[in-house]
Amino acid sequence: MHAGEEQLISRAVAGDVAALTSLLETHGPRTAGTLDISPKWRTHVTPEDVMQVTYLEAFVRITDFVSAGPGSFGAWLRRIAANNLRDAIKELERAKRPHPDRRISTHQESCVELINLLSAGGATPSGITARAEAVSFLDSALARLPDDYQRVIRLHELEGRPVRAVAEHIGRSEGAVKMLLARAREHLREALGSRSRFLSS
């Protein structure tokens, strides 16, 4: 624990990008070293894939971080990274099962529901109205996500490109795309949920 680290952390939590950048440059490579990727998946997901999403998450989530003393920032970052890896592998395994798209758990105001709404919904007048509403709803929520997240949601969920095609398109591994998708959905769900009462704005 460096003497100045607590100070860096509080600056980072307050929104100081340089402070967080510096913290991540210290802790990121160490965190990457702790990732235990089973040989089975090593061709599908690399530590860099995991860290790419982990860094993005760190920037998005830093305001929620509450320091619990020395070491807590590193632990926080490792937790994010481990979650990302776990989700990537979960998604990769899921892809082997039939109809992967239909297996996505849709809960509460899940973005996936809304996306389904875009493609389904039928041709009834209320369906069309709801769909038009959902499109603008989704657009405004998407605009609140980091670019990487927006891109995978648009390519995969909205344009319907397979994960592999998305991976090629953005020059990333499939595992990275799955991870980006998982996090993107999560943020989108939050953005949609919190906007649900403010659709008319």
Binding site: D16, Q52, T63, L117, G127, A130, S140, P146, D147, S201
Partner: protein, 728 residues
């Protein structure tokens, strides 16, 4: 607080392999987040958004930290400097308050909630504007959301009931102020460290969401849009019928919350595409709680299913009723929901009777009877319900005016209690299960119950007036119009003596007296009372107020004052156009009435143009008004046939007939009406052979449903005679 540093610019990858280094990845993430932030705040405030406002940006508050960043804005924890109180500050985007009217409306709700000071409602304690954004200040509640609390504290079913009853009581307190939540869900309910509930965002959903304000009673603003959070949404929300959203919508959501708290699942599956989930909410029967929950007994199941009824009128009528039943259950007393069947049957009877009464009115307007009724019956029943239950729900303008202090709110609640008590005692007396005398006539029962209660209310003339109106409407529904008129007139006198002459309460009583006079055939008196209502309501709210429009138009039509009707309808059209809620359904209907008034004055071409315009407004009617274009087609065909425009008249009438036949029972009067218009068209076009079977059918249906001297039976017989048919 440091201003945000610009994103770190990192040279391109120095890694010889060409793979991005950690430094690159971090810089890319930083840049993305930075871009997002500047976009986030930039559009709303005109300046890049700092992660937290700079000191002094929110005068009087010190920001502690950012709690949440979401679509509606950012929530901060802060300290109110003058009091040291911990508060949550919600910075709102400019969007929802783009118009001054929305802001004013929102402020009114803020004010109402502010006066409420209910310990379980997180009211807004301050509001203001900074850097172009509005912000709201509310108490900061330490604790957990309801679902997190239930998951970790694992209270017993009884404790859960007790907690939910407290939540219902709080919701009811807001309902009494005319504020509907409409987005109740566990994440909007926080449980503090002492286990006490606090409900967040009251009034926000309603005022920000639809712009449908309580002051504009029943103005149909947005239909076909989903409002709320999916799993807790009510059927009326799932169907996107904004005008049907009222206090009972909250009752439904409370039912889902309770159901989930007790059984750990939703009443129906909420997995899958949103459309499917919404369809399930709108039509699937909830899974029986006893089948999925060991702790649920028959009474809990009754309570839950009553909350979750698809029809709002079969639910608890407000959160207070639900709270009372939960308390009764906890105390081992019989629950009220068990009386559901009796109350429901009576309500249904009242409605049915109203339909019968209204059907007797008007000629061309009759084509719309069902439609008009569906619009204003709702409001009428609301008005009655409100007078019976103490200014709840949609007549919130009345509530807002009446409930100007906490004292008054308490009085109203007590008044509502007494009125409910009486009604319940009446229903009970007529319910054989309750041991009452089912053979006593309903008027006797009412008189017996009413005289005692009215006498008790001598000291409270306004409560007396509400009760008199409630009893008057029951008498009216039972056909005792003289008694109904006497009672309602007494109520009107009482309100005139004790309320401002232009108050909503006086208007409401005048309208009820007017309706009774109309039923009794005293059209002059009806007009006088409707005018009084109209003048009061017009002076303070939306001139397109449909209730008045419908009532006054009906009377003018019945008096055959078509010049007066035209003038009034044009006034209403201007009003409806001018209001922010120029609902095409209402405007179309008004144009139809205009057509009728013009036609009656012999101005048929103008009439045709008016009805044509009405039809053009409804190319895609909201589901609840799907039948309206059929009626408009029929009317237009009728007018065209009279102008010898046979081909178009024939097409329209045949179209209306086909649509009605495929959707209505075979002997429906609307079908007879289409048959009549098509028959008339064929007859005037010179094809008696084609006209005869149509008119025979129209006559048969009408003669079976209507008295032999009814105008509609007579006109069908007259046309048959023209076809050479002997008088049937």
């Amino acid at each position: 607080m440091d201003p945000p540093t610009p994103p770190t610019t990192t040279p391109p990858s120095a890694d010889p392999s060409g793979a991005p280094t950690h430094r690159d990845l971090i810089a890319s993430a930083a840049a993305q987040v930075q871009r997002l932030r500047s976009r986030d705040g930039g559009s709303a405030t005109g300046q890049p958004a700092a992660p937290t406002p700079s000191p002094g940006a929110l005068p009087g508050y010190r920001i502690v930290r950012e709690v949440h960043r979401g679509g509606q804005g950012v929530v901060y924890q802060a300290v109110q400097l003058t009091t040291g109180r911990h508060v949550a500050i919600k910075m709102l985007r400019a969007g929802p308050f783009a118009g001054g009217a929305e802001l004013a409306r929102f402020e009114r709700e803020v004010q109402l909630l502010g006066q409420l000071e209910h310990p379980a409602i997180v009211g807004i304690i301050d509001r203001g504007a900074a850097a172009g954004s509005h912000f709201l200040v509310m108490d900061y509640i330490r604790g957990r959301s309801l679902d997190a609390y239930l998951a970790s504290a694992k209270p017993t079913p009884r404790a859960t009931f007790d907690l939910l009853a407290s939540i219902c009581e709080a919701v009811n307190a807001a309902h009494l102020r005319g504020v509907i939540h409409r987005d109740l869900k566990p994440s909007n309910i926080r449980i503090d460290d002492d286990g006490r509930p606090h409900i967040l965002d009251f009034g926000l959903a309603r005022s920000l969401w639809t712009g449908d304000s309580p002051g504009e009673q029943g103005s149909a603003t947005i239909t076909g849009q989903f409002v709320g959070s999916v799993p807790w949404a009510s059927p009326e929300q799932a169907e996107g019928i904004a005008p049907r959203i009222d206090v009972r919508t909250d009752v439904y959501s409370l039912g889902v919350i309770l159901y989930h708290a007790l059984t750990g699942r939703f009443p129906y599956s909420v997995e899958g595409p949103v459309r499917q989930v919404l369809d399930r909410i709108a039509s699937a029967e909830p899974a029986r709680p006893r089948a999925v929950c060991a702790a649920c007994d028959d009474e809990i199941e009754t309570i839950l299913l009553r909350c979750l009824d698809k029809q709002p009128e079969r639910r608890y009528q407000n959160a207070g009723e639900l709270a009372r039943d939960l308390r009764r259950y906890l105390a081992g007393e019989p629950i009220d929901a068990k009386r559901d069947s009796t109350v429901y049957l009576l309500r249904k009877h009242l409605r049915r009777h109203r339909v019968g009464v209204a059907i007797a009115a008007g000629f061309l307007g009759l084509l719309f009877a069902g439609l008009v009724l569906s619009l204003w019956l709702w409001r009428t029943s609301e008005t009655h319900r409100i007078s019976a239950e103490g200014n709840l729900g949609k007549a919130t303008a009345a509530t807002i005016e009446a409930a100007e202090s906490a004292r008054q709110a308490r009085q109203e609640a007590a008044r509502a209690e007494r009125v409910i008590e009486l009604l319940v005692s009446i229903f009970r007396a007529g319910d054989p299960k309750m041991g009452g005398d089912r053979h006593r006539s309903m008027p006797d029962l009412i008189k017996a119950g009413a005289s005692k209660t009215i006498a008790r209310l001598d000291a409270d003339p306004l409560a007396q007036a509400s009760l008199l109106l409630a009893i008057a409407s029951i008498h009216r529904s039972l056909g005792d119009l003289a008694e109904a008129r006497a009672l309602a007139s007494r109520a009107l006198d009482l309100r005139r003596a004790h309320q401002k002459p232009d108050s909503r309460g006086v208007a409401e009583a005048a309208s009820i007296v007017g309706e009774i006079c109309e039923d009794a055939g005293d059209l002059a008196a009806a007009e006088e009372h409707f005018r009084l209502y109209h003048d009061i309501v017009k002076s303070r709210t939306n001139p397109g107020d449909w209730h008045t429009a419908a009532a006054l138009q009906r009377v003018l039509r019945a008096r055959r004052d078509f010049v007066g009707l035209e003038k009034l309808v044009r006034e209403h059209i201007d009003g409806a156009r001018g209001s922010a809620h120029g609902d095409p359904v209402v405007i179309a209907m008004l144009h139809n009435f205009l057509g009728e008034a013009l036609d009656a004055q012999g101005r048929r071409h103008e009439a045709i143009a008016a009805v044509r315009h009405a039809l053009s407004l409804l190319s895609d009617p909201p589901p609840a008004y799907a039948e309206m274009p059929w009626a408009l087609k029929n009317n237009l065909a009728w007018l065209l046939a009279q102008s010898d425009e046979f081909p178009e008249a024939r097409t329209l009438a045949a179209d209306a007939l086909a649509l009605r036949r495929s959707h209505l029972p075979p002997d429906h009067l609307d079908i007879a009406s289409s048959l009549f218009v098509l028959g008339f068209t064929e007859l005037r076009a010179g094809d008696k052979a084609a006209a005869r079977p149509l008119l025979l059918d129209a006559h048969r249906i009408r003669a079976a449903a209507l008295p032999p001297d009814d105008e509609r039976v007579v006109e069908a017989a007259a046309l048959l005679a023209e076809c050479g048919e002997a008088r049937p």
